[in-house]
Symmetry: C2
Subunit: 343 residues, 2 copies
């Protein structure tokens, strides 16, 4: 079984602290919605599906507190808690999706909401893992034998309920014996590739070669890679893909080199209310993330930095979007709609 | 006056230790050719023109030792010293160019070679600075008013005798009031952009915004940059350009976005003996450079890394090569030859 970044244990939410990986493997317990929102903002947990699952458990914690204070009208004021969670990070749609799904249960609850909501949050978690497994199969089917794959950031077990989206596809393709070599961008500034992707693949015995982001096009030019496989934080109705900064650059270069470009993401990442990538909010984080490496300042004193942490890859540069409901090749609005309507 | 990474002072070579910048500004003294070769290999000094100048002073030091040992036949055995220097790094042609130019003086020397060779090494150093100033003017002429410029690695005063190639162009364009904003890739793994380019531009009062390499294409897509200006470690006869890993990716993306791509390098960087970039040796350095950030290991234990430190940009993706002898637009073998023959 792959690493699990999120679990509900002894009446509280436990998150694996991804800021400390791979050096320290430590869980933190959460019992207040404010602390859960902070954990999302501070990237104790990250990755769109994992943020969604965390928010679902955050709603359980919020409802428990509200019920303890006011058993008759516990839902009053809970909108504030939702806002706290929703404001934590702007780009990943799974956060809003999970809150909406949890809110959708309220009408069916009578009395103490905790048991009902906890069951729903656990269902979201389990469905995410099942979706990953299905995407793994579907994505691996597209990959030819003897392929080498480059991935970016961490779209793995750590970014999801478990197993992973892009890394789910890679795990499945490796299991089928199709993969020659796995490369991972180190993914500055947060080094998700070097710290998280390498760590979780090595836990599963899958060797991985890290490269600097700057080496990706040279890797393609040298014919060392046939597929780019990435996850997503939000997919627009037309198939435009928001994902970790650097993804767009890979897509531009993949097209130039005839390398295939695949996005693996559950339908909870698809936002049919957003017509195109132009309407997806792109989070900019502190310049400090770039001026430092870990805790240590590396840049010259006085330098500023531009640190958008996501970018948008237009659908035209995507060869395939893989969700648990199917594969959309050369995505457009019509094909995305058909896939979403596929039960 | 810009920073000077190399000087001859009190009978020895002094190099600014670029491994420690920007935290510490420290010079190291060199009095043996083996130590000079180590300094080049270990990147106390780096940047193609700076490596060439350092090697020229290395030849002075070698000749001084050989003359002290054997005044009558001091040139015997000096080939070993040349090899030591030449083997230090394979990609930058300036290293070999400087050794050849120094060797070319031997026939004219009678008696103690030190004074003659020192004058030649100092001439190489001064000519490099003059070439930078000229390239600065020529390159800045190409840049339109209100442009923003992205540079990569450090092709500045620190990479040359002083003033810089790419940063020379930027300095001149800034002085002419043409530049809206300067962006610099942080340039993993060695962080030349964050550590060196930011430091030397800020010393001159030129503000600079750092970006992660992964953000460069998004920067272009957002229309925030009109020119990419870089240096080179070796330019082939057909105009193919070897430079720091990540340069090729910028060129691919610049073409996709209609952003202009300029290479500034002295003619000592042009290798007319190499027909195309395919024949330029590309140095691969230790995986540790990538698995660590500074002294600290950041990658998961057990991860490997592919760390080519240069790549080749085909001439077809280059809008202009600027040397001290002129500007070659849309470079090819014929135009490069004409420029080289231009005294």
């Amino acid at each position: 079984m792959s690493v699990r970044p999120i679990r509900w244990h002894e009446d509280s939410l436990k998150l694996l602290d991804q800021r400390l990986l791979p050096g320290e493997v430590t869980e933190i317990s959460y019992d207040s919605v404010a602390a859960v929102a902070d954990a999302i903002r501070d990237m104790v947990v990250r990755g769109a599906p994992a943020i969604g699952i965390t928010a679902a458990f955050g709603v359980v914690i919020a409802a428990r507190s509200r019920y303890a204070e006011n058993p008759d009208n516990w839902w009053e004021g809970i909108e504030q808690d939702f806002r706290l969670l929703a404001d934590a990070r702007p780009t990943a749609i799974n956060l809003f999706w999970a809150i909406e799904r949890m809110r959708g249960c309220f009408d069916e609850i009578d009395g103490d909401p905790v048991e009902y909501l906890l069951a729903e949050a656990k269902a979201i978690h389990e469905e995410d893992i099942a979706a990953n497994m299905r995407m793994g199969e579907l994505g691996a089917d597209l990959i030819g034998a003897g392929s080498s794959i480059l991935t970016h950031c961490n779209a793995g077990a750590l970014a999801t309920g478990g197993y992973g989206t892009a890394l789910g596809v890679i795990r499945s393709a490796v299991a089928e014996g199709k993969v020659e070599q796995v490369f991972a961008d180190e993914t500055r500034p947060w080094l998700q590739g070097a710290r998280l992707t390498a760590w979780e693949l090595l836990q599963d015995g899958i060797p991985v070669s890290l490269i600097a982001e700057g080496a990706a096009s040279w890797l393609m030019q040298q014919g060392k890679v046939q597929w780019i496989v990435v996850g997503s934080d939000r997919i627009a109705a037309n198939g435009d893909v928001a994902n970790k900064i650097g993804t767009y650059q890979l897509a531009v270069s993949a097209r130039h080199h005839g390398v295939k470009f695949m996005v693996a993401a559950p339908t909870s990442t698809v936002d049919m209310n957003v017509a195109s990538g132009a309407d997806i909010p792109i989070e900019t984080r502190s310049a400090d993330e770039l001026l430092k490496c870990g805790d240590k300042t590396v840049a010259a004193a006085g330098a500023s930095a531009w640190n958008p942490v996501f970018d948008v890859t237009p659908a035209a540069l995507v060869d395939a979007i893989v969700t648990e409901r199917g594969v959309v090749e050369k995505p457009d609005t019509e094909k995305m709609l058909a896939m979403m309507q596929n039960a």
